[in-house]
Amino acid sequence: MTPCCSTAELLACFLARDLNDGEELQVGIALPIPEAAVRLAQLTHGPNMELIFLGARMNVHHLDHLPMPAFGWDSRVVRWAESFSDRGHRFDQVKDWHRRVFFVGGLQVDPHGNTNLIGVGQDFRRLKFRGPGSVGTPTLTTHVGRYYIVLNTHTPRIFVPRCDFISTVGWGNGGADARTQLGLPGGGPKYCITPLCIMDFTPEEKRLRLVSLHPGVTLAQVQAQTGFELVIPAQVPTTAWPTLEDLHVLRTQVDVAGALRG
């Protein structure tokens, strides 16, 4: 059976269907899957969603095609916005971020969903790999209602028992009260998605747990590519294909150039 779409498209459609009308969806740079997902979500079921790119907040639900240059940093994004938060006040209303959704990548992810954008190595002054830095992810993930960990690869170098450095607190040392213990008001990471599978967190321990395998991926493959023991439920379904309708909107109104198909 020929796959009906690419894995990136599959994930974009999965994310889009997990987003709710009325939410604020903030996407940083270099995250094409979430960027497509939020546009798709607004077009299919989000007339009250607000998309936030580079500080520009927009609602372009009424347009047949989103007038944004796709999947990259473009200063023109503010022209299609309704407001531009960057009047020197980007962080002065974080108390309202409980209705905001965010997406993070990472150089490393640990079993409790803590992530690392700082670097790899034991000595901070002589890193083996110097990462780009945390951007605004510590502040955003502290406050947003929920966030998604989105990774472009799934390897044991990324999924490690312990991050060398933590730039984003997921569930800390584990436990449903891990974040309240730290005084972090946001809801924490909900899903971790990779080219192989979708994962969430167990309700009590807040350990990374397999939710579904993408079509063609085996459990053994995921386990071999994960540097710690994943929680595996009794039933592991295959990640559902997108609806033809979602895929149609994705390809004809969001990712017209086919960046996610490549």
Binding site: R57, D64, S85, D92, Q93, K95, H143
Partner: protein, 294 residues
């Protein structure tokens, strides 16, 4: 493929102020959203904690709505150094005064917006403010050991603001700049209600997104001349004669125990008009047109 309809946030003044309840903390912006203030009095809200100054504060006290004020300035204007009803109520202990000043107030509001329990501030160190307001704690800063005030977060339940224009989705633009405290109030408050001179199309907002001062008001209310008797920048100037009339009856009530004039004023302009349009009819169109700013 457009599914669903984007929700309008346009409400009448009665619908908007119905979000408020007795005992809430209400913040009043500058320029003053007088039509919403009159609606608060009309709805006979009680025991409010108010962040306000000048006429809006005085009128709310006169209307019996106020239990506590978060107070930085209560001048009366026009040669009346202190707002009369505020002065009387404060001197008699009928209202609680949470004494502060502008920098302390904005620090507390910023703390709320930032989800922080406090922010430090230097203005006020050495004054009587931490003595008469024990919520302001003197601290030693953890970096240099300097003495500062720790200002606790100030969290209004609702901010009532006045602006020039908005679309029906709550995108607000202040022509000529927002008032000095409006954006602090909006960021700190749980909810934000904005009265505007004019509702504009969403396209007009998107023509200048960088001019949007509030991106998502919970409710917008179309109330032309809604700041009367105060000014609305770029639209009309203040009605000084009307303000002087208020001050005369308020001073008589507060300082000479002659409450009849003030009661008549409150009836005529707050209680009897069923809507803002009814208020404007009482003021009179010719009077309003004469206030045009040019």
């Amino acid at each position: 493929m457009n599914t669903g309809v984007r929700t309008s946030r346009l409400h009448t003044e009665a619908q908007a102020v119905a979000m408020l309840d007795h005992g809430m903390t209400i913040a009043i912006g500058e320029p003053t959203p007088m039509a919403l203030v009159r609606q608060v009095i009309r709805q006979q809200l009680r025991d409010l904690t108010v962040i306000a100054s000048g006429l809006s504060l005085d009128l709310l006290i006169a209307g019996g709505c106020v239990r506590k004020t978060i107070s930085y300035y209560a001048g009366g204007g026009f040669g009346v150094p202190v707002a009369p009803c505020f002065r009387r109520a404060a001197e008699r202990g009928e209202i609680e005064v949470w004494e502060c000043e502008e920098g302390i107030l904005t620090s507390g509001l910023e703390a709320a917006g930032k989800g922080l329990p406090f922010l430090p501030w230097r203005g006020g160190v050495g004054t009587s403010l931490p003595e008469i307001n024990p919520d302001l704690k003197l601290i030693r800063d953890p970096i240099n050991g300097e003495t500062l005030l720790a200002v606790p977060a100030i969290k209004p339940d609702v901010a009532l603001l006045h602006a020039s224009v908005a679309d029906v989705y709550g995108n607000v633009q202040h022509q000529g700049g927002p008032g000095w405290i409006d954006l602090f109030l909006q960021r700190a408050a749980t909810h934000c209600i904005v009265q505007v001179e004019k509702i504009v199309p969403n396209e007009a907002i998107r023509a200048a997104p960088w001019a949007t001062t509030i991106g998502r008001a919970d409710a917008v209310v179309r109330l032309p001349w809604g700041a009367h008797p105060w000014y609305s920048r770029g639209w009309y100037v203040q009605d000084s004669a009307f303000l002087a009339d208020y001050l005369a009856v308020a001073t008589a009530a507060a300082e000479r125990d002659q409450p009849a004039g003030l009661a008549e004023f409150l009836n005529r302009y707050c209680h009897e008009p069923a809507t803002h349009a009814d208020y404007l009819e009482r003021v009179g169109l010719k009077r309003l047109l004469a206030l045009h700013e040019y």
